[in-house]
Amino acid sequence: MKPETTIEGNARLLTYHEALEDTALGKILSAEDVKNAPEGYRSALAGMEEGTVIVVEPHARAKITVERKSPPGRAFGTFFIFGENSHSTVFYRTALQESTRECRGIFLSKLAVAHCCFLQADNEKALSTVGLVARLGECSQLKFLNSNIGGNEKRDAFLFLQDRRASRCEHFEAGLARQGQKFFLDSDHLHTAPDTYSRSVFKYATAGNSQVNVDGKVTIEQAAPGSDTHLLAKSLLLSENSISKVIPMLFVRNSDVAAGHGSSMTPLQDEELFYLRSRGIGESESKLLVLQGFLRDLISRSEMDAGALGTLEAELEKDAHSIFPRD
């Protein structure tokens, strides 16, 4: 079943097979990247029952909203191709009931700018695997916000390929893991061209007996002098029983780089709670505010479309209430 898709601006919706028949698009989609792509991407692509391709024309502006409530099969694909010098915003939301595998492709041509917001708010029994390949063209810019609040178990494996000079990629992850939920994120930024820039910020709050595993890897190859990268992973520990495992990895093969990573894992801070309590706010409400502040900070930094951010914040607030009900 096709996703509900609304497109404003100069963009078109194709099936994967239609896109493959177009020589130029086919070349992008069947790129040699597939062999470097995460396992989740390759397996979903191999078993793909339906693929949707959204193409933004060169020099166009587009606003795209995609909503999936039921999948076209156990494995499906969603691909975005942003033409040269285009400017686009994407809001992609899933609310699936079943267990699925999905491959996502984001391909930016030269000078393209894309702000993509992905919200996964699936049924709490759904198991999902998402493999993503994002390839950035010369001087292109990608802001990518991925938010996990639904589902029972979610395994994301993302590859960001920066093999053209001067591309910029900002990757934000916001997640709230509740009782019984397991989130596994495997993020890989590969810099193989000069003057490429990447920032990754991951924020997860863990409650109940949830588990969050974050593997954040950044590689700067010898052919990427002048590259600049930083990865930050933050966890807010809300429960005694949750597990939070973070592995921020850096592999640098060039001396002319700025590379760093940081991570922190902290519980709710007594000082912050005391400040709020001293102003007459109840305990649960205070914790809720701190939690919202933790995630909202990231969401606002992502500079996504206002409508998308409103929806995202509302979903997160709803989930946060289930952890800290109002007094």
Binding site: L237, S239, K245, V252, V257, M265
Partner: protein
């Protein structure tokens, strides 16, 4: 640095490859064939006239060694040929224990004198030891320290003279032979090393020190260090390692076990400068009890391939661990080093600082593990790892793992990789320094947090060595 200071301490040679010499000249007894075999395990045990329990331990360890695979992660060990390693070489002069430095055979004494052992002992150490190939040749302890009940002897003597202590702590709860392939190998072929026992409440005022020399070509050194700091005691222990360069690859697979009992404080410092054809594959671990403090200070300068991850297991409430390490990798060197801390009790804290420099195609890799167990409250930890990558042939990597299973833990981690800042060099050069001086000052600043924890003479030599290694690295 003032040359007279260096001369006075006579430590010049320690941090460089030791002077080459006729390797057979020093040999008193050695295994007939190269290769790490069960026959050799039995032979070592027989030559050492060990008790039956140790012989059984060796044989069991060998069985584990044969079953365990090589690590599938980390540096390439495929060139490591166990069948070419000479597993046991007893230096000439062993069999009787010299009571004074004068009784040590002249040719061996010459080598160690170049390392400054007699001067060091007289000037600033509470006790000193020297291991040559497989066995400890010389060990002394100041009488005022031994009067306090401190035992500082070589492991072979400890097995004979303090069997109850050795049996209680040796490779059973801290680093069992089942831990990894090289620990099992060590359990089978161990020889020499230090045994240090500090009774409750005793504070050893000066560091104890041992020097390890690998002199025989293609040799495998497997010394065992066992340190027991009883309740409320304090001790500092320093190791220095060096070897001449031969064409055959050598191997060093030591095990260090440290027990820091309630309220005790132990510091273990190790400066490693093996020659570049040495595989340095050690397992070092401490079990830290309530309110005790364990400090690891390390400088990993030599060897070809190093895999070293000192580990602190904080099992008592309020226990603390500090890990400070410098790694330097030049051409052909792979330094896979890091630290592991397991927080298994409440209110425990740890700090890890790692500084790495790679140049001329060298590889430095920080690999760390920080684990906080469930229901451990009030845990605090901070990890900092910085690398300087001097040229584009070299590689710097960081792989820190953080596994947190407690709500009440405050964990911080920061890492950076980059070249030496041009702004800093420019600033210093604009004030009249030449490029090498400016570079030297920046590098000194980079490693300063660790060097300042070293004893003076090591700090001086470490700075000098790194300066020498970094010469001509600007640009």
């Amino acid at each position: 640095m003032d040359e007279n200071v260096l001369k006075e301490y006579g430590r010049d040679a320690l941090l460089r490859d030791a002077p080459g010499s006729d390797s057979e000249l020093h040999v008193g007894y050695r295994a007939e064939h190269a290769g790490l075999t069960l026959e050799l395990v039995k032979e070592i045990s027989e030559v050492k006239e060990e008790p039956d329990w140790m012989r059984r331990h060796r044989i069991k360890s060998f069985e584990i060694f044969e079953k365990k695979p090589l690590p599938t992660w980390g540096p390439d060990l495929s060139h490591l040929d166990f069948s070419a390693i000479v597993g046991f070489v007893r230096p000439k002069g062993q069999g009787y224990k010299p009571n004074s430095w004068d009784e040590v055979p002249a040719e061996i004494k010459n080598t160690f004198e170049k390392l400054g052992i007699p001067e060091a002992e007289r000037k600033f150490l509470a006790g000193v030891g020297a291991q040559y190939d497989s066995e400890v040749l010389y060990k002394s302890l100041r009488s005022n320290i031994s009067d306090l009940g401190v035992i500082y002897t070589d492991m072979d003597s400890a097995v004979r003279e303090h069997p109850e202590l050795v049996k209680k702590y040796f490779m059973n709860r801290c680093v069992p032979a089942t831990d990894n392939k090289f620990a099992a190998l060590h359990g089978a072929f161990w020889s020499g090393g230090s045994f240090l026992y500090v009774p409750a409440g005793v504070k050893v005022p000066m560091p104890l020190q041992i020097y390890f020399m690998m002199n025989y070509p293609g040799f495998g050194q497997f010394e065992h260090t066992l340190i027991i700091a009883e309740e409320g005691s304090q001790v500092q222990y320093i190791e220095g390692c060096s070897a001449p360069h031969y064409t055959k690859d050598s191997m060093h697979a030591a095990v260090v076990e440290i027990f820091v009992q309630k309220g005790a404080r132990a510091r273990y410092t190790s400066i490693q400068n093996w020659s570049r054809n040495v595989y340095n594959l050690n397992t070092k671990r401490a079990i830290v009890q309530q309110d005790a403090v364990m400090e690891w200070v390390g400088g990993t300068l030599g060897s070809g391939v190093t895999m070293l991850y000192p580990c602190s297991i904080l099992v008592g409430r309020g226990a603390r661990a500090e890990h400070l390490n410098i790694a330097l990798a030049g051409e052909g060197q792979v330094k896979d080093t890091g630290a592991k801390v397991f927080h298994m009790a409440s209110n425990t804290s740890s700090k890890i600082v790692s500084k790495s420099i790679c140049k001329e195609g060298g590889v430095v890799r920080y690999r760390g593990l920080l684990s906080v167990g469930a229901h451990c409250t009030g845990v605090k930890s901070n990890v900092r790892c910085d690398s300087i990558i001097a040229d584009s042939k070299s590689k710097a990597e960081t792989v820190p793992v953080m596994d947190i299973r407690s709500k009440d833990a405050v964990i911080g981690h920061e890492a950076s990789v980059g070249r030496i800042s041009e702004e800093q060099l420019f600033y210093l050069m604009s004030r009249g320094m030449d490029a090498d001086e400016a570079l030297s000052l920046v590098v000194r600043g980079f490693i300063e947090p660790i060097v300042k924890e070293l004893p003076l003479e090591y700090a001086v030599e470490m700075n000098r060595l790194i300066e020498m290694e970094m010469e001509g690295s600007v640009g």
